[in-house]
């Protein structure tokens, strides 16, 4: 078998130890999943293919898989995409389980008409596709020729009105690519089965709506995406989680967003530490604060290490009752947990009424050693 772990008789348990004497190739047909070649007159393939790729995955990231679609745009040969697919995902005959290669004439036509185009940009024709390896059409072994109706463009292309193929990413990208400009016509969102962002001309895939990533200018694609109850809050992926579970140091949203941005150093008040707990803002009482907690806070915020810490008296007459969090008695028994999990609410306020204020400084980074620069001072 080609791969190191093979099934003993092309159907037995995988990963059996390969018997070196057994060089039978485990051929089986598999459905074509390479998007480039989903519009072929056949839909089963087998590997390795004619370019030495061992799987469709490998084929999909090969450089031929990006070379050929780009070459198709030049219009050098009408059936170039068809020929490329017979190499990338060769036809598999479901009865014989054998690969059906392209005919030699198809290979020759593609090579003769398109090789020179590659030469202009200093590229070679893929060497694995030497035409002499393919059977002559009309000989006794079957081979593939484009039937009527074979599409010159792949599903990854946009077909210009003139018949030319241009990469789908060029459709309505603001640049004219088709010789008849048809790639820049009918560019309305709905005409392209896209969703138009309210208040702007931006078009997005419908799959991007409420996916947790803002795409529209006013983030409207991520608004009104969840209907949480009063005592719940929406996660970034629009799940609903009870507000008492927010910023408790444990993930409740499947994307862990209930534990994001729970700790901050509010610049306006001179980097006073603020912690959000059950969706409300708290100050941290300085009474039992210590250096390890300062280190944890700076590291958790990705701000490096503590530069200075001070206990700031609470501002008198602050409107509304200030909320306090206190250092949990077992704060150091909860390793690898976030700061918000090491603090607790208490019935009483903070005795000293002093809040934690912290300044962090970036850890050493981006410095090069001078080691070896001047190791040997040789007089010249």
């Amino acid at each position: 078998c080609i791969s190191t772990s093979c099934s003993s008789s092309c159907g037995g348990g995988a990963n059996a130890v390969c018997d070196p004497r057994n060089n039978s190739s485990c051929t089986r047909c598999e459905p074509i999943s390479l998007e480039l070649c989903m519009n072929l007159p056949y839909n089963l393939t087998s590997f390795p293919n004619h370019l030495g790729h061992l799987s469709q995955r490998e084929s999909s990231v090969s450089w031929e898989a990006s070379l050929f679609p780009a070459l198709v745009q030049t219009g050098c040969y009408q059936y170039l995409m068809f020929y490329a697919c017979t190499l990338l995902v060769p036809k598999c005959d479901p009865l014989t389980l054998q690969r059906v290669p392209p005919c030699r004439s198809l290979c020759r036509n593609a090579k003769e008409k398109c090789e020179s185009v590659l030469g202009i940009v200093g590229l070679q024709w893929p060497e694995d596709s030497d035409c002499s390896q393919f059977p002559e059409d009309g000989g006794n072994s079957t081979c593939l020729l484009p039937e009527d109706g074979v599409d010159e463009c792949s599903p990854s292309h946009f077909k210009c009105r003139s018949g030319r193929c241009v990469l789908a990413t060029k459709r309505c990208d603001g640049h004219v690519d088709c010789d008849d400009h048809s790639d820049e016509e009918h560019c309305g969102c709905s005409e392209r089965a896209l969703w138009e962002c309210p208040g702007s001309k931006v078009c997005i895939q419908s799959s991007m709506i409420c996916d947790g990533f803002p795409d529209c200018p006013l983030l409207v694609d991520e608004a009104n995406c969840s209907t949480c109850r009063d005592n719940e809050l929406p996660c970034n992926n629009h799940q609903c989680v009870h507000r008492t579970l927010w910023c408790d140091g444990k993930k409740h949203c499947s994307d862990s967003s209930d534990e994001w941005d729970c700790v901050s150093l509010s610049d306006r008040a001179g980097s006073v530490l603020t912690v959000f707990r059950t969706a409300a803002e708290y100050q941290v009482c300085g009474d039992e604060w210590n250096h390890e907690l300062s280190q944890l806070t700076c590291n958790q915020l990705g701000l490096g290490v503590p530069a200075s810490v001070s206990m700031v008296p609470d501002q008198p007459g602050v409107p509304g009752r200030r909320r306090w969090l206190h250092v949990h008695p077992e704060w150091n028994l909860r390793n690898a947990t976030a700061l918000q999990a090491r603090l607790e609410k208490r019935s009483h306020a903070c005795h000293s009424r002093r809040r934690v204020s912290l300044l962090c400084t970036r850890e050493d980074c981006g410095l090069r050693s001078t080691v070896g620069m001047y190791r040997h001072r040789k007089k010249r």
Binding site: R57, V61, L123, T169, G302, G366, V371, M373
Partner: protein
């Protein structure tokens, strides 16, 4: 690296080599913390499992790791959820090492950019890697000086692809100094007045570097991803429950 030169041992202590099984060096990567590195998402195409990979740091000669090198396994690979293979967008991954590195003059993290911090066009920065040199793969780490190219000018080089805000361009019209296959995931770093180096790009894609197709290289724009990177580190350090 095309048009570069052999780098001095210890010159780029954040450069690492992402290696897999028999293939050996596959991609570059960049150390950003004691247990964290960055690389590009496309390096993991078809090989997404963390236990297939290891990270080698403190290397200069791929063939002779030497005394200063450190090797770590990969605990987790965090590919950006928006990585788009077709247009090579959001091409970035955070790599969690299975153990902390020992900081030495030859193994040190690079700085991440601050919010909105970008190198200005025509700034000269460096790219490094063990990628193709146009005629062969090197053993010794190569370095090349490239110029940051503005977004609009960069789009003019690539009519086949769209340059998105997640991308950064650097190089030269004639492609004389450029990154190439095997450099992917490696750093584009710029030095500030205080002598500190900041990571602004990860080698991602470009024209076929050993052809006559000219133009700059395209790098993942690290500044765009810094909040996402910090969040991945926070979640995988403090929310492991």
């Amino acid at each position: 690296i095309l048009g570069g030169r052999v780098s001095r041992q210890g010159a780029w202590p954040w450069q690492c080599s992402l290696q897999s099984g028999q293939s050996g060096h596959v991609c570059g990567c960049v150390l950003i913390g004691r247990k964290w590195a960055l690389t590009v998402a496309h390096c993991f195409e078809g090989r997404e499992s963390a236990d297939l990979w290891k990270v080698v740091l403190g290397l200069n000669n791929l063939d002779h790791p030497g005394l200063h090198s450190q090797t770590r396994g990969v605990r987790s690979i965090l590919v950006h959820p928006r990585y788009n293979r077709a247009v090579v967008d959001y091409d970035i991954s955070v790599v969690q090492l299975d153990a902390e590195i020992d900081e030495t003059p030859f193994v040190r993290p690079v700085c991440l950019p601050g919010a909105g911090q970008l190198p200005s066009p025509d700034t000269y920065c460096y790219i490094t890697g063990w990628g193709h040199m146009g005629n062969r793969m090197p053993f010794k780490l190569q370095e090349g000086e490239v110029r940051i190219i503005s977004f609009s000018q960069c789009q003019s080089y690539f009519d086949m692809k769209t340059i998105t805000p997640r991308m950064l361009c650097a190089g030269y019209d004639a492609g004389t100094v450029d990154s190439c296959m095997g450099d992917s995931g490696g750093p584009l770093v710029c030095e500030d007045a205080s002598g500190r180096w900041t990571l602004f790009g990860l080698t991602s894609w470009g024209s076929v570097c050993f052809s006559k197709v000219l133009g700059p290289g395209v790098y993942s724009n690290v500044t765009h991803f810094t909040p996402w990177i910090r969040r991945q580190i926070y979640v995988h350090t403090y929310l492991t429950n």
